[in-house]
């Protein structure tokens, strides 16, 4: 994935600073800044605000890219939909996803937002893309690994 340097700099608050936008009228959190609140219709009340840091995974998909004629899928990345505390929601990748068994068990699990490397596949001349990911707590990871039959020993 290629990321434009200027766009990365411009979006640093949301990508790296875990900032979203909150309506001053209804307090609804959104990821995008909008002139009109999508919840209450208030005009010009969106203010940058820290996204709630913790939430619960409500959906998961291990999305990859199909390779033509080879019947293969490569580059799988676990994507999750997270209901954050305070009513916010984010779709992002899941950190600690080196174990697919672990990833498949995260539905319903608590996570926190963390800044992590988004992709390894970058050209040497491009900036390394960092951004928000959902990360499992150490305790949750340990419990899931235990349930997965010790798969975590490989990590």
């Amino acid at each position: 994935m290629s990321q434009n340097v200027v766009a990365t700099w411009r979006g640093r608050a949301s990508l790296l600073g875990r900032e979203g936008w909150q309506c001053g009228a209804c307090m609804r959190f959104t990821l995008a800044r909008r002139r009109v609140c999508s919840g209450c219709g208030a005009l010009g009340r969106a203010e940058q605000a820290p996204l709630p840091r913790r939430g619960t995974v409500t959906a998961l998909s291990l999305a990859g890219a199909a390779v033509e004629h080879l019947d293969q899928v490569t580059g799988r990345k676990p994507a999750v939909l997270v209901e954050l505390e305070g009513g916010a929601r984010i779709a992002c990748l899941l950190a600690h996803a080196d174990s697919m068994t672990l990833a498949a068990a995260v539905r319903g699990q608590p996570v926190r937002l963390a800044v992590r490397r988004i992709s390894l596949a970058v050209d040497a001349s491009e900036p390394i893309p960092y951004g928000l990911k959902a990360a499992l707590d150490l305790e949750t990871r340990a419990a899931l690994k235990k349930d997965a039959g010790g798969e975590g020993k490989k990590e």
Binding site: S38, L81, L93
Partner: protein
């Protein structure tokens, strides 16, 4: 607005045609219409041109190659819904009296790129400011919606396979398809997981293709064909582009609003058939449920019981839609209208829907752009003599 009709159609079979360029496809598909009708304006949908060929203003290039360079030419870009957007603009142009006849051409030329690069074409449909920098892709977001849908409604992942099975069955029976046979739901479940619970065949394959339609005021349409199809209503709407920001990610609000606008008080009762985007199975399901054809969580089960298939009370995608016929990036919305012209007009051959042959029959197409960020609904009516 004056009575407006679809009069003439032409389409190329989707495939990988490395010998021909986008302009070659456009000329082949549109020339028969140009030769028959007095065209006043050209509307072009070719969203892949800039991404695949680096060609901006593809409309001007196509007008040049078609010998229509002196005409007003408008290019509409609404991602994979560009064809529907171009159709709506052409109808408005004719309806406003600015043209008697407008040619709408949609071209999808994608095979010059690898499959991975074609997948990147789909990634251009997601929010590039918010979602893409988080590492998300079109397929990942569709997978998340499907997973959320399955969990919310207590379904099994394999239940979604009935969407592909239905579209494939309609396509194979209808005769315009890339599929060698219609896979059953069991076969679909065995396909490669691409974005679980979605498998490869849940994503309509991107192909080279082109479609052309002639939109004309009704008197002219009657001169050009014995079986014009009236445009009975148009509706278009948008939604938040960031899926996580939507109140309910499983409701395609744009589709619901567009259909309400297109159908008005008449609603969706009594349709002879429905065309709905099938770029991805979960999007077809969510569109069908958001516009009120099926209750939330029931579409897959109703498809399993026969809803949507040829011969059912409401045929959904009688030609198989993008999943059954092949996905023309930006052409699928116009392909929906072509199906309406065939079904409600001169006839669609062995896939003809019986109810569409009745006097005054109506049909609806719902073209969903991206993952529901835009939708274009068009109501069609069989024109009386």
């Amino acid at each position: 607005m004056r009575a407006i009709a679809l009069a003439l159609e032409s389409a190329l079979a989707p495939g990988h045609d490395w010998r021909r360029s986008a302009a070659d496809l456009a000329v082949e598909v549109a020339a028969p219409l140009v030769d028959k009708a007095p065209i006043d304006a050209l509307f072009v949908a070719a969203p892949s041109a800039l991404l695949v060929d680096g060609q901006a203003a593809q409309g001007a290039l196509l007008a040049d190659r078609l010998g229509l360079a002196k005409l007003p030419c408008y290019q509409l870009e609404a991602g994979d819904a560009s064809g529907a957007a171009a159709l709506h603009a052409a109808v408005a142009q004719v309806g406003a009296g600015l043209a008697r006849a407008a040619l709408v051409v949609a071209v999808s030329k994608v095979s010059d790129r690898s499959e991975r690069e074609r997948a990147a074409l789909l990634d251009s449909l997601i929010d590039r400011e918010i979602e893409a920098p988080l590492g998300l892709t079109y397929q990942a977001l569709c997978g998340l919606l499907a997973d959320l849908y399955v969990a919310r409604h207590g379904l099994k992942a394999g239940d979604l396979a009935h969407v592909v099975a239905k579209n494939a069955a309609n396509a194979v029976a209808g005769g315009e398809t890339f599929l060698p046979h219609a896979p059953t739901a069991i076969e679909v479940r065995r396909d490669i997981p691409v974005a679980p619970p979605l498998v490869r065949s849940d994503f309509a394959p991107l192909f080279d293709t082109a479609t052309a339609l002639l939109v004309a005021e009704m008197p002219l349409a009657r001169e050009l064909t014995a079986a014009p199809v009236e445009i009975a209503g148009l509706g278009a709407a948008g939604d938040l582009t960031v899926i996580a920001d939507r109140s309910d990610p499983l409701r395609l609000e744009a589709a619901a609003r567009a259909v309400d606008a297109a159908c008005g008080k008449a609603g969706i009762d009594g349709l002879a058939f429905l065309e709905v985007s099938s770029a991805c199975s979960i999007l077809e399901i969510l569109a069908v449920e958001s516009i009120g054809v099926a209750a939330p969580g029931t579409t897959a089960g109703r498809y399993k019981d026969g809803l949507g298939r040829a011969g059912s009370p409401l045929v959904i995608n009688p030609g198989g839609g993008a999943q059954g016929r092949g996905f023309g990036f930006g052409a699928s919305g116009l392909e929906q209208a072509r199906e309406a012209l065939l079904q409600l007009g001169a006839g669609a051959g062995k896939r003809q829907v019986e109810a569409a042959s009745a006097a005054g029959a109506t049909a609806l197409s719902v073209c969903v752009g991206g993952i529901g960020s835009q939708a274009f609904a068009t109501m069609y009516r069989r024109a009386g003599s």
